[in-house]
Point group: C2
Chain length 337, copies 2
Amino acid sequence: MVTMQQVADRAGVSISTVSFVVNDTKPVTPETRERVLQAISDLGYRRNTIARALASRRTRILALIYPLIDHRNHNAFIESAATAAREHGYNLVLWPLHSDDVSTEITSLIQAGFADGVLLMEVQLDDERVQRLREADAPFALIGRTRDLEGIDYVDIDFERSIETAIDDLAALGHRHFSLVVEDWSATPLAGYAPPIRTEQAFRAAIAQRGFEGAVFRAPHQAHAVSTIVDRVLREASATTAIISLHDEVSAAFVNTLPHRGVAVPADMSVVAIASAPTLAEQLDPPLTVYPGPGGELGRRAAEALIARLDGRGGPRVQTLIPCTLHEGGTVGPARM
Amino acid sequence: MVTMQQVADRAGVSISTVSFVVNDTKPVTPETRERVLQAISDLGYRRNTIARALASRRTRILALIYPLIDHRNHNAFIESAATAAREHGYNLVLWPLHSDDVSTEITSLIQAGFADGVLLMEVQLDDERVQRLREADAPFALIGRTRDLEGIDYVDIDFERSIETAIDDLAALGHRHFSLVVEDWSATPLAGYAPPIRTEQAFRAAIAQRGFEGAVFRAPHQAHAVSTIVDRVLREASATTAIISLHDEVSAAFVNTLPHRGVAVPADMSVVAIASAPTLAEQLDPPLTVYPGPGGELGRRAAEALIARLDGRGGPRVQTLIPCTLHEGGTVGPARM
DNA sequence: TTGTAGGCGTTATCAG
DNA sequence: CTGATAACGCCTACAA
């Protein structure tokens, strides 16, 4: 490993001068700078991240708390957050965390001086981890949001607006009777997981406000629950002409199963998915009409919000909501008479 | 931040003694150890990861080179690798890398002293990154494998065995005419991506050896290519009674589209997927018969192989192949007469 | 504009 | 068994 000292020696300057040109932290005459740069490239010098972190008390590491639950495509969040971090000179480390580690471990990476800040995903309405991070005074940003949003940076899907858009798009085609299907996490560690809860509330409010009819179904992730949900909807909300689903497996089940029940899609029933995985649509026939979740956007913006905070660019809290936008498929049509 | 010195002061010992008990690196009398531990817990001391890294010349950070290509569920790899790393006291950072950064950046994280080792995924048969890592003398392990395997640690899917198993499972039901569909990456940066290449070779060999008939189709990831592949197979390999697919979108297209072509699944045509995403099966109707890719297993084993190397537990190279095993669905039946 | 020197919090080597 | 003390590589006042 080549050190600053070696560069300094070769360039005939002191170690601090090297530091100044490397970090662009103090003015240096063009000639000296040139000599230093030359020495750097001759020797193939790279400044040691760790020593730099120790001396500057800034690791430039972001920790992404990674929920150990098998759910969706976290992919897009992660990749975009990592990319954004790197573009800003940060690194993203994955910190998979079991729910029972939470209380002890959540802040240890901060206290151990390992990370400058934390990114949290799959946030619940009342999230213990957020509390811990606050107590530890650790900088953090959320992908998702808690109930209490005072003084926190977050980026989340705008479920309210997404659901209203979906309803209005369908209403324009004459639909008046809707069924919403959301995931049921109530018996799991993810019990307070916000998206289905917010979506259900927004759905009920929007339906009421417009004078439509709406039924809500909650489906767990067990395979048999998914397969029975189709019949439940047909039986318990038989007037339904449009199904809105926040549950990818269920969305697929509807498209695949309805024809076997004598219900044509979209002639007899329209089906749309909200906040779906990006690849879901084209794996179905007809391709599903979806409002895909803006995964990449969320990851990137959350990372940038956190970094802005860390870099001392104060400013107001980042509290961004991004709606899901329509990606047309073949499962929506005029309401049947 | 509470430091070792503070602990030492409170325990009435020297800083080195604290280090000895914290790292369990030299014998300490029970009484002193007790005093030190007490001081540690009183003060809530945690040893600083960065300082430790600097002094010990070991960061305990693993870099996962993350290909910026939208492909499959990398999820399982990543999560399991991160978990395994943490279980061994390492951290996994995500290092998304564009293909054009490769030559310059691939080793910088090592040379910059940031990571102890590198995990590489989506490996190509002749992979420049592997070459660079070798040149830089950086410890690494692969998820996947290159052509030349001399002296490298890797964990990969056993495509040969997986494809043979699939063929034999189908042959037991009377199938003799097979079509294989693989992804076509030839016009992309992932041109030398090994899985489709190895699978195709293994398929041809297995078919020949058993005296069966086999056709191979390559499909890019564009949506229209996917939708036309069904008709191409029906037209160009009309004797086919069983389709084996390494291409999840195509697998879905077969299950969804064949019935519209008057071909019942599985009565007229059996369909199986190899190395598929774990959730693909249940999104189709009937549920797809799959041999899912052992994503989590691969990530975990690769991380552990790298760590073993880093921790100086020498031993022979880890060169592990894991076959995909059958997960039954409803798309396989006896060959039509 | 450049150099000197004192940290940053640990680890590790040597004496005692 | 325990304690000084010198690295580790860099940053940053403070001096010159």
